[in-house]
């Protein structure tokens, strides 16, 4: 085995892992993209929605074993998808009782558009969720361990005969992530409900004038954003171990992804997440794991320097 072969093999595997993990990060960022990018609500509890999605996946499949009968492939994946509606409902409730007091029509036209209030409230919610998670779920790291977590499809390439390993859990999860992101995109762009959600975020007062119940629209959008990130959490749970404080690691890179992609663009948020996954996997080639998140932020800063509006950011204001 020669040196260039190892190099090429490492490169190709980082590339594929970057794409696979990136797609799931993309979905995770799409959830925040809806809440932060489109609705302009600062939400620091988003990482904890991800964590709840991971634990929902764990309890549905391993813990309570409700979906264990579906087998090691469909079981964990369906558990991840089921995390969506559960956290969707939780997000709607949270919005109804807390978030709506610091966002939407109540803060339209105020100087900070409610961002200060949202910052404090969601940081508080985040702390509550993490510590409640610690009490309820315990501090033992969990995994949704299945045979597919540790098995891979092997592709032989013709470049130095190097082998590319496609982790089964990651591959199937990333395909599901793409499907979920497309489903949300179609919902937002092509349906009456989706249009009303975007209108309510764009101009709440005008949305009221055309007959949209803005409070309800904001509640649904917040629930959707929460649920989507939770699905991503359930998918990540199929190949990563986690504890109740895992959200902290993810919430910052979620924001990086959303801003990278461009505020207000769902498609952009997905690309932003993909970029983050990519950079993370590639930096693993040359950097120690502790510096992977640092690498993400170096790239983040570089892109902001070169293209401050993000990949897909578009200015809708007349210059």
């Amino acid at each position: 085995m020669s040196d260039p072969q190892i190099l090429v093999e490492n490169f190709l595997n980082a590339l594929t892992a970057g794409i696979l993990v990136g797609c799931i990060y993309g979905l995770m960022c799409v959830g925040l993209g809806l809440i932060f990018g489109v609705m302009r609500v600062v939400n620091f509890a988003q990482g904890d929605f991800l964590m709840l999605g991971m634990y929902a996946g764990y309890y549905f499949f391993t813990g309570w074993g409700l979906l264990a009968f579906l087998g090691p492939y469909a079981g964990p994946l369906l558990s991840a998808i089921l995390a969506g509606p559960v956290i969707f409902a939780g997000g709607m409730l949270l919005h109804r009782f807390l978030i709506s007091r610091v966002s939407g029509l109540r803060t339209t036209g105020s100087l900070d558009e409610g961002h200060f209030g949202q910052l404090i409230v969601t940081l508080g919610v985040s702390l509550v969720l993490q510590n409640a998670g610690l009490i309820v779920f315990g501090s033992t790291p969990r995994t949704v361990n299945t045979p597919m977590s540790s098995s891979a499809w092997v592709i032989e390439t013709h470049i130095f005969d190097s082998l590319v390993f496609l982790n089964k859990a990651r591959l199937i999860s990333s395909l599901l992530a793409i499907l979920a992101a497309i489903a949300l995109y179609v919902l937002l762009e092509r349906t009456r409900l989706g249009r009303s959600l975007r209108a309510a975020a764009d101009n709440p007062t005008a949305a009221t004038y055309v007959g949209v119940d803005v409070d309800r629209a904001h509640r649904i959008a917040f629930g959707l954003g929460s649920g989507i990130t939770a699905v991503a959490g359930g998918l990540i749970a199929t190949f990563l171990s986690y504890s109740p404080f895992v959200g902290l690691d993810f919430v910052i890179i979620m924001y990086a992804g959303v801003v990278l992609g461009g505020m207000g663009s769902i498609l952009g948020a997905f690309w932003g997440g993909l970029t983050v996954g990519f950079v993370q996997q590639f930096s693993g080639l040359v950097l120690p794991p502790q510096l992977q998140n640092a690498a993400i932020f170096v790239v983040f800063l570089l892109i902001l320097l070169l293209r401050p509006q993000g990949f897909f950011g578009r200015s809708a204001e007349r210059a």
């Binding site: 975007r198 764009d202 101009n203 004038y209 204001e317």
Partner: protein, 237 residues
């Protein structure tokens, strides 16, 4: 059709409207004129439900508007074209019109109403896929009116449609409003600072000053009033 009776509104102790009564009959063109800060926009916001009155009643076709959510009112057939246009900036022109058609009546008549809007404002057809935020002020105003019409409303409320527009564009907007009233028989409630044009169009007018109706009546009464002629029309009494 619309009966605003004895409505008073305060913003944190400041009286914006005092005992305002305005009546709009079916098929009428009614204008409310008055200087800046007289409470004209507040009157519209109160009818749409964005501002809550302290007292008084508002009825539309016999239904009590104050008893229902603001978002329900558009579904009754009230279209509010707000001051400053307030288009959905990050959505396309077409999507803005589709949002205007959010009420059931708009859904039902979509094809017919869209043709009508495009006939009135051909530029909106040309720019269908452009983001509304990138339109010029005049185009945004046309879009805002188009969005109002898209709901196939019974009452069209227009808040200062000429504000910030070049005179030629403002004239065009007034022409179209008058055309909508004449040809479609739509009931219109118009608030304007360009008093001469606004009064010329209307069947009935109200003069609102510091939150009170100081004068009301048909065009002839208002145009013949010495104070209106001096203060608003710039004519000798």
């Amino acid at each position: 059709m619309l009966d605003v009776t004895g409505v008073s509104v305060s913003y944190g102790g400041l009286r914006a409207l005092t005992d305002v009564t305005v009546t709009v009959g079916a098929g009428q063109f009614v204008t409310v004129v008055g200087p800046n800060g007289a409470g004209k926009s507040t009157l519209f916001k109160t009818i749409s439900g964005v501002v809550q009155p302290g007292s008084g009643s508002i009825r539309f076709q016999g239904q009590d508007l104050l008893a229902m959510k603001p978002s329900k009112r558009a579904h009754l057939g009230i279209a509010h074209v707000p001051e400053g246009r307030q288009v959905f900036k990050a959505m396309t022109v077409r999507e803005n019109l589709e949002m205007g058609a959010y009420p059931e009546a708009g859904q039902r008549d979509w094809a017919r109403v869209l043709d009508r809007i495009h006939a009135l404002f051909p530029i909106l057809a040309e720019r269908a896929t452009q983001l509304a935020g990138t339109l010029s002020g005049g185009e945004q105003q046309m879009l805002a009116i188009g969005r109002g019409l898209a709901g196939a409303p019974k009452l069209l409320m227009l808040d200062e449609p000429s504000m910030g527009l070049a005179p030629a564009i403002a004239d065009l907007i007034f022409d179209r409003i008058s055309q909508i009233h004449r040809e479609d028989g739509l009931t219109i409630l118009l608030v304007e600072q360009r008093v001469a044009e606004a009064l010329e169009l209307c069947d009935r007018g109200y003069v609102l000053e510091t939150g009170r109706i100081v004068l009301e009546g048909p065009y002839e009464t208002l145009a013949g009033d010495d104070r209106v002629r001096r203060s608003y029309l710039g004519l000798d009494a």
